[in-house]
């Protein structure tokens, strides 16, 4: 066996063990969502249920308006993702293509907001939204999520990989800067835009603390709140049902990831336009 092959085998063993650790919770959730509560307690290690049942799913669909909850979550996540991407692209473009006084200071201030913990802005946001009479509405949840410094940072980084002369060549043809953004810049950084959008979408999809603060009525619940109903101290101990809700919660982000994984990986590993 050559040293190279040995190295390969070793690497694969490491990668496979990491993969197992990462996948175990998913497999655990999936398998328990098909078990009865008593089976779940008696055969904890059994990943393939001996007596699979759809009981938990039936329970979820009969007791919860799961379609409505999914739509609520989708509504918030789509608004957050679309707006964050739009504002990120526009401000990143301003920070890349324009020269203005105080540009660097402004950029620094915006980027430093990445380091402000959520707990600090949570209360002011709550007060602002409730005074706007938007508490307990989906719009109220979405409203503070329309811009994001991380997005500005990531998009600006990828805009900076476009050679300056390409922008200049477009500027020599084009009378408007917006035209250059639309025709040249956006198409060239499309992978970055897609993956940033997906990350925003998934973050919002999984968000718990902010929706739990804002939303009181069940009809406005998001998936992560619905999930909490089954495992919190006030909720039940029906944890197999909770697993069924988890599995349902995972489906959309998982699907998105599978479709767009090419873009997501390329954004984090390559430097965009060559």
């Amino acid at each position: 066996m050559s040293p190279d092959t040995r190295r390969e085998i070793f690497l694969h063993i490491v990668l496979l063990s990491v993969l197992c650790v990462l996948l175990f919770p998913l497999a655990f959730a999936l398998s328990n969502s098909f078990k009865t509560l008593s089976d779940a307690y008696t055969s904890v290690g059994e990943l393939i249920p001996a007596r699979p049942t759809l009981e938990n799913y039936i329970h979820v669909f009969s007791r919860l308006d799961i379609a409505r909850i999914t739509l609520n979550t989708l509504f918030i996540a789509v608004i957050a993702a679309v707006f964050k991407v739009a504002t990120s692209v526009l401000s990143a473009y301003a920070f890349t293509a324009y020269e203005f006084k105080g540009k660097n200071i402004l950029y620094f201030v915006i980027i430093s907001t990445i380091f402000i913990p959520f707990n600090v802005t949570m209360l002011p946001n709550y007060l602002t939204i409730s005074r706007m009479r938007l508490a307990d509405t989906l719009l109220g949840v979405a409203l503070p999520q329309l811009a994001d410094a991380t997005g500005i940072f990531l998009i600006r980084q990828s805009m900076k990989t476009i050679p300056k002369s390409i922008i200049e060549a477009a500027a020599m043809e084009n009378k408007s800067r917006f035209g250059i953004l639309r025709d040249i810049v956006i198409p060239l950084i499309r992978p970055a835009i897609m993956s940033v959008g997906i990350i925003f979408f998934i973050n919002s999809w999984n968000e718990y603390v902010w929706p739990v603060l804002m939303l009181k009525s069940r009809s406005n619940f998001t998936l992560s709140l619905a999930l909490q109903m089954y495992i919190s101290s006030e909720g039940g101990t029906e944890f197999t049902v909770a697993m069924a809700v988890s599995v349902l919660t995972m489906l959309v982000p998982l699907g998105l990831y599978l479709v767009f994984q090419k873009f997501i990986i390329s954004t984090f590993t390559s430097s965009g336009v060559k």
Partner: protein
């Protein structure tokens, strides 16, 4: 009217002045070469004409209109970038027609111009390719096609051939001249390559440190360099510049002298500290002593095949001579003569050409510079 007029154009980056007061008029349909070593400000000048750099002070007129305040999209200029700057996400034909579509040229006209330039530049068949699927030479031609299809009055080229290999460069050079003949735009061409400058240009503006050193036809730049910088920059190997003193019709070079014609002697009268300039290819080399020749010893030879550069030492100074013969070798004693109609004299302090005698001046045709200096 497709002239470009620059009036006292200056460019500062912070406190550093990179272009120091430029007064150049490029006539309609002329090919002006901006030549100079890297960092001399020639690209900055081109970019100011294109509208990609602000003009710190001075006035720029394109076709009679002052354009200082116009954005580059409004100046009716097209440009070929050094790295071509093709849009990577567009096909060849979209690259060529993008500007035309933006500027709402009608579709028939777009397709007519596209077919025309693609045929002229031998790009037919590559319409649907992306830039990354093209070779370097093809990319260069697409960039040129894009600039030409715009049919703007002014064509700016920023070292357009520097990324090509020698053979392609030669071909592309001819193509550029042909394109210019066909479309007749006023052309400003930045390069650091003197061969391109000599072959493509109607006039050459030679720059150093943000200032024009000489602005004239290629022949005059070569035959009557305005100063030491110009003499040294043009020619390969570059022009020999040696300290020399004139005394009673003789010139001292190192520890030897050669005699000057009466005209030269008259022309140099009263000028003490001088430098003699002579191009390597103008030095005549012999193995046997001759009248009015200077003796030297060969130190080193470089053989290029079609010619040989011979490095000769003479009393502490080194000269280089080009010859078609390759019979010289290190250690040989050689005798050099400097043809009187090929030598130049420069003022040692200022570096300026001190001028030529009447009979030699005739070889510098239309030499405005010469007339100015003698007057």
């Amino acid at each position: 009217m497709k002239s470009i007029v620059m009036k006292d154009i200056r460019k500062n980056y912070g406190k550093v002045e990179v272009v120091k007061g430029l007064d150049i008029t490029v006539d309609s349909g002329e090919k002006l070469i901006l030549l100079g070593p890297s960092g001399c400000g020639k690209s900055t000048i081109l970019r100011m004409i294109a509208g990609l750099e602000d003009i710190t002070s001075g006035e720029l007129y394109l076709g009679g209109q002052k354009v200082n305040h116009l954005r580059s999209g409004e100046r009716n200029v097209s440009m070929v970038f050094q790295n071509y700057a093709l849009f990577p996400h567009m096909t060849v034909e979209d690259n060529i027609t993008y500007g035309l579509r933006i500027n709402k040229v009608n579709e028939d006209e777009i397709s007519r111009r596209k077919t025309d330039v693609m045929k002229t530049l031998e790009l037919s068949g590559l319409e649907k390719r992306k830039p990354r699927e093209l070779s370097g030479g093809q990319r260069q031609r697409v960039a040129l096609a894009r600039a030409v299809a715009k049919q703007s009055c002014f064509l700016l080229l920023d070292e357009p051939l520097s990324n090509l290999d020698v053979q392609l460069r030669e071909h592309a050079r001819k193509e550029l001249v042909r394109i210019h003949e066909k479309f007749g735009q006023t052309m400003v061409y930045v390069t650091h390559d003197q061969v391109e400058a000599m072959t493509v240009g109607d006039r050459i503006a030679l720059f150093s440190e943000g200032k024009v050193q000489m602005l004239d036809t290629p022949q005059n730049v070569y035959n009557c360099p305005a100063n030491v910088f110009t003499a040294k920059f043009i020619g390969s190997p570059s022009c020999n510049i040696i300290g020399a003193r004139e005394k009673n019709g003789f010139v001292e070079v190192g520890n030897q002298v050669f005699s000057l014609s009466a005209q030269w002697a008259g022309c140099l009268r009263g000028k003490e500290d001088l430098c003699l300039g002579i191009s390597p290819e103008q030095i005549e080399l012999r193995e046997t002593p001759r009248d009015n020749a200077i003796k030297g010893v060969v130190r080193y030879c470089e053989n290029y095949g079609h010619k040989t550069s011979v490095f000769i030492e003479n009393g502490g100074t080194e000269l280089v001579a080009s010859t078609e013969e390759s019979r010289f070798g290190p250690g040989d004693v050689v005798y050099m003569t400097f043809p009187q109609d090929k030598i130049h004299f420069f003022d040692k302090k200022t570096g300026h050409n001190v001028g030529y005698p009447e009979n030699i001046a005739r070889s510098c045709e239309n030499d405005s510079l010469y007339k100015r200096r003698i007057a």
